[in-house]
């Protein structure tokens, strides 16, 4: 029953995403998200315990709240999600054991980011990105993914403070590293990760046809450390 419910919610998320992608950029945008050939992805990592919190503005400067999303919040409709698919996705993700954190202004969720600690306490939690990207999550390492800020709130410099809030929380919970990734053609994401001094790991190229996905290392491709030096 739980599996059927998850499958149904996944289909609903996919439907919302197709609709939103179409509204944003037409059929071309929908296809671009589901069909690509050797698209470059860069996994990244940041140490949490040995490094001081990255400097920069914090969410309190912006009068936004950083809160963890719980199923009760969704059932009680505590907040309104600016983008419909994110609310549906939140429900599905929580049921998968992933943790979600929201950027809330008044009663509106204007952004959210997801996190999994695959090898934390209890049963290991799976995320398909880890294998696809070759991310070596160890015990107490976290993987943060799918950060989203609603279009009407982009350009407000919220991404980095949002990430900092998540890192601070993970740090207090004893996580030693947080992994992530960005698509190389997603310039805002690339820029945010470099501003925050994430260390870049060997790049991958990813091919996708609808639900089929394959990735491989890019041979001979250098990467940058957080200090901007080339590492092999």
């Amino acid at each position: 029953m739980k599996l059927i419910s998850l499958m149904f919610e996944s289909m609903l998320v996919a439907w919302y995403q197709v609709r939103e992608a179409f509204e944003e950029g037409g059929l071309k945008n929908v296809l671009r998200q589901r069909f690509f050939w050797k698209r470059k992805a860069t996994p990244v990592v940041m140490g949490l315990l040995d490094a001081a919190p990255t400097p920069g503005r914090i969410l309190q400067d912006f009068s936004y709240q950083f809160v963890e999303i719980k199923l009760d919040h969704l059932r009680n409709k505590k907040w309104i999600f600016s983008t419909a698919s994110r609310g549906v996705k939140a429900s599905r993700n929580i049921k998968k054991g992933w943790r979600g954190f929201a950027l809330v202004m008044k009663n509106q969720v204007v952004g959210d980011v997801w996190c999994v600690i695959p090898c934390g306490e209890g049963i290991p939690i799976h995320h398909s990105d880890l294998g696809m990207l070759g991310i070596p999550c160890g015990k107490k390492d976290a993987y943060a993914f799918d950060m989203y800020i609603s279009p009407e709130h982009r350009g407000e410099n919220l991404a980095a403070p949002f990430h900092r809030s998540l890192h601070n929380l993970l740090r207090t919970e004893g996580c030693s590293k947080v992994y992530g990734f960005y698509w190389d053609d997603n310039l805002p994401a690339l820029w945010m990760h470099r501003i925050m001094k994430f260390k870049e790991l060997p790049k991958r190229q990813v091919t996708r046809f609808l639900f089929y996905m394959k990735s491989e290392f890019i041979p001979g491709k250098s990467n940058h450390s957080s200090q901007g030096q080339h590492v092999s």
Binding site: G56, R57, R154, G155, N157, A159, D184, L187, P188, A189, L190, W191, M192, R194, I195, S222, H224, G228
Partner: protein, 82 residues
């Protein structure tokens, strides 16, 4: 008009959207001040590549290369030489 002036004018008019702001200094921090954020870099990069007929590779999209007008000017001049 020098490269630095072209960049300064663009940032002032198209990113800050405030032509009356006190002219940005060559070494004034553009990133720490939030002027070049993740959307600003897209706008600035498109302008630089179009205006100066250069291509900035991904490996050069580093904060230190866009930290100030001086840094951006130096980056453009390096690309022009290549």
């Amino acid at each position: 008009m020098t490269t630095s002036d072209v960049i300064r004018n663009f940032i002032t008019n198209e990113i800050l959207h405030n032509p009356s702001v006190i002219p940005l200094g060559d070494d004034e921090s553009l990133i720490e001040s939030g002027i070049i954020d993740s959307l600003g870099i897209m706008t600035l990069l498109a302008f630089v590549e179009r205006e100066f007929s250069v291509e900035i590779p991904g490996d050069d999209l580093l904060p230190e290369n866009f930290a100030s007008i001086s840094a951006i000017t130096a980056l453009i001049e390096r690309q022009m030489v290549r």
